[in-house]
Amino acid sequence: MASIRGVSAKSFGLKDNKSALPYLLLAPGLVYLAVFFIYPIISLGQMSTKTSSGEIGQYKQSFRFANYVDAFLESKEQFSRSFIYATIATVLALAIAYPLAYAIAFKSGRWKNVLLVLIVAPFFTSFLLRTIAWKQILGEEGPVIKVLRGLHIISPQTTLTATSFAVVTGLAYNFLPFMTLPLYASLERIDPRTLEASGDLYANGFTTFRKVTLPLSMPGVVAGTLLTFIPAAGDYINAAILGSPSNKMLGNVIDARFFKIVDYPTAAALSFTLMAAILILVTVYIRKAGTEELV
């Protein structure tokens, strides 16, 4: 044993030192991941199969994997709602952010930096405060509803808050910069000469967009949709503040299971299921979108 070790140290010593350097550089990141990701994940996994030991908040390990099935069946409504809301919000955010990012990248001239600051500036305020602000804006005594009712666009009974409309628009608004900035980054990198070339080849504006701009901006689209969809699917603030009991998402269920019912195993099982579902969806999406630049 000793001689083997001696030989390997002698013959590979230099090489070992060399190859150790990247690992040393990686060490802080790996330690961070171990402490703040791997350990919590393991502890979450352990909690998810526990059962009650009789007293509130106290659980014993009994490897009950049926917790996952129970948790999913009890909350499947909020589960599907989370993905539906997050999908609509992502599409909405893309529809708003693409023209915005396009305009900033190609048409804004010297206003470019000002516009970028304008997009980011509201996000110096807390997420929570901005959502509460929307509740005030869309609320009964707020300006929007008064104008809409005044113009007879909506009936006096119709409300804007405590609806799925409010939750989805809240999600789209809150994650808009995460969509806009990656889109802007990839649009801005497009060489204008490729667009000119497209025109030289008799492509009209629409064809140029479809054949040149859009494909070249795909990394931005994929990054933006992921950065919007993932947090939106796990969000609970928008549903809690802008929704009603009929608009609750899975985040609200996990929150209530943890803090109100003190049912840690179900909360942990739901967290795991949500993570797995998002991971699968994202993997499929990235495979389909096929953006090598991104991964």
Binding site: S52, E74, G139, P245, V253, K260, I261, V262
Partner: protein
Amino acid sequence: MTNQDSNTNLHKKLAADNSLPSEIKKLISKSLTRRNVLAGVGAAGAAATLAACGGGGGSADANTVRWANWTLYLDYDSEKQTYPTLDAFEAQTGINVSYKEDVNDNDEFYGKVQGQLSLGKDIGYDLVVLTDWMAARWVRLNYAQKFSADTVPNKKNIIPTLASPSFDPNREQTLPWQTIMAGFTWNKEKIPGGIKNFDQFFAPANKGKVEVLSEMRDTMGVIMLSQGVDITKFTEDQFMNAIDFLQKKIKDGFIRQVKGNDYKEDLISGDAIAVIGWSGDTFQLATENNGKFGFAIPEFGGTISSDNMMIPTPSTNAAGAQKLMNYYYDPVVAAKVAAYVNYVCPVAGAQEELLKIDPALGNSEFIFPTAKTSAKLNIFRGLTAAEETKFQTAFQTAAGNA
């Protein structure tokens, strides 16, 4: 007074304050140059960090009572930055009180101290203030020390409606600090006739504009009372019947939200025009909004719940904590606290004292319910661990959260 004067005064006061640790006093008594202040802040921070390691309220000391309470729950002099009744207690008894507004949420607080409690280790507090149902859990798990009428003689001053809850029939381990009623709160401009029952609460005109409390015991208590159920001894079937009622009202779109304290914002913004709410809140809301909101105990009855003082089992200064409890059950002292916090005062005789300080407050039905009113208020019974989980799950499911 200039800023500098007030700083100097505060500085003198702090330096004279006996409750501060000597290191911090030393720092304060040094001349306050900018450099010293910055260095001092760092050192005080370090001292605080070290102190925090000893437990929530600091380490045990035979002459100090470490008290954890909710925010804005004790008379406070914002000019002098002191708690007048607490200062008087310290002067009278020579006992130091380390008062911390450390309770923000029953479950959260429980989560912080439960580990140490179950091991019988000091949790850093000699006196804690928790709501009935959580107090019931502490009593069940034997986490609260017993005290007697010998050591807390003033406990005889408790108002009769609160004297024997199911979780502590003789008030041997818990004593209410303040008491909160739940009933109907409404916008007087939108509902001039007021609300006394569920027919009025769920009137077609209010559809989508009423809210109920996320505090299960208050919402479910009021619903069960409306169904003629005695909430001091209801059965599971009765509870689930009430859940069905709640669920239907939510599904039908009558109930806009199931909310915590923030229902206040919805009342102000007009999103909600009637809620199952808390008396003290309504009282303050009405004062802040030109009397726009009304509160009534439902004709079928309302709930009353208390935040209870308890001495954790591992506490090493139970004697001091008992003296403190006894002190706050003196009607004169209780009146001073009631004048500040505006919740229902659990101490008999405090009304007469408050009438001397402030006749308007002394006559408030929200602070001193009359015998007729008290008869309409009911305490939600204690739940077993299994019931707690089952009922809370059913309630959260109805609220769309599970």
